[in-house]
Symmetry: C2
Subunit: 147 residues, 2 copies
């Protein structure tokens, strides 16, 4: 990966030579997730990391907060994104900015994979769980899908 | 822009609320370009800047080199990208990594706009022109389109 200059995108297969990775090694209590894969496009040689995440139907990322920001561009599918006290319905190429320390979660809102690029600082803090009471104070219309 | 959390993408119009900007303020000798626009998606609060460039038919970016790297994902159209001694034919979602100090240039290779995200370090050096002799030693099949 480190010295790769080009990676061809294959619909439904990701990028040639960029393996599917675990989204997170484990899900601490209160940071559960479902049906999320991760591909790392660039993680060396710059002050940032460029990753791609894909969430399957009825899947969602961890509800979390951290000091580093996210710059996100949707590539495929339909998503619903919680950013603090706002919820955005996201479609291809829409841009989402998650500011520092704002609780956030990404959910698939359709029947095909919801995929998005997510760029972060290379040096960044570990995500923390969001206290349920804090979340309840922010928003009441963002139910986490149940199995 | 700084506090924006969401920007809807409009086909052929870019993102709502994110204005079209100049690609470069000026073109020094040997760093000419044609038909390039720039949109800045995120330029504060992180160690990186996320930008979008769109090159019109028969357009091209500056042939240049610099110490900072580029992480590029094509969003639309068809491009031809010079990265040192390699040329890549680029289509939507293909990934291009321009390593440090490698001469590079982006050209539109089709009839519709060629658009791509390009992420760079927030703290970065100024692009420099590529000496024509250096380029000739690298590659001989990447003609710059003429007017």
């Amino acid at each position: 990966m480190e010295t790769r200059r080009f990676a061809r995108y294959r619909p439904d297969g990701g990028w040639e030579g960029i393996p599917e990775a675990e989204y997170k090694r484990q899900a601490p209590e209160g940071m559960e997730f479902r049906s999320v894969i991760r591909r790392e496009l660039l993680t060396t040689g710059a002050a940032f990391h460029m990753r791609y995440f894909e969430i399957g139907p009825r899947g969602y990322s961890s509800l979390e907060r951290h000091d580093h920001v996210h710059a996100v561009v949707c590539l495929r599918g339909a998503g619903r994104v919680l950013v603090g006290d706002e919820i955005f319905e996201v479609r291809p190429f829409d841009f989402v900015h998650v500011p520092a320390d704002v609780p956030h979660q990404f959910q698939n809102a359709g029947e095909e994979p919801f995929g998005f690029l997510c760029v972060v600082d290379a040096a960044r803090d570990t995500p923390r769980r969001v206290d349920p009471d804090d979340l309840a104070a922010l928003v009441c219309e963002f139910p986490t899908p149940t199995a």
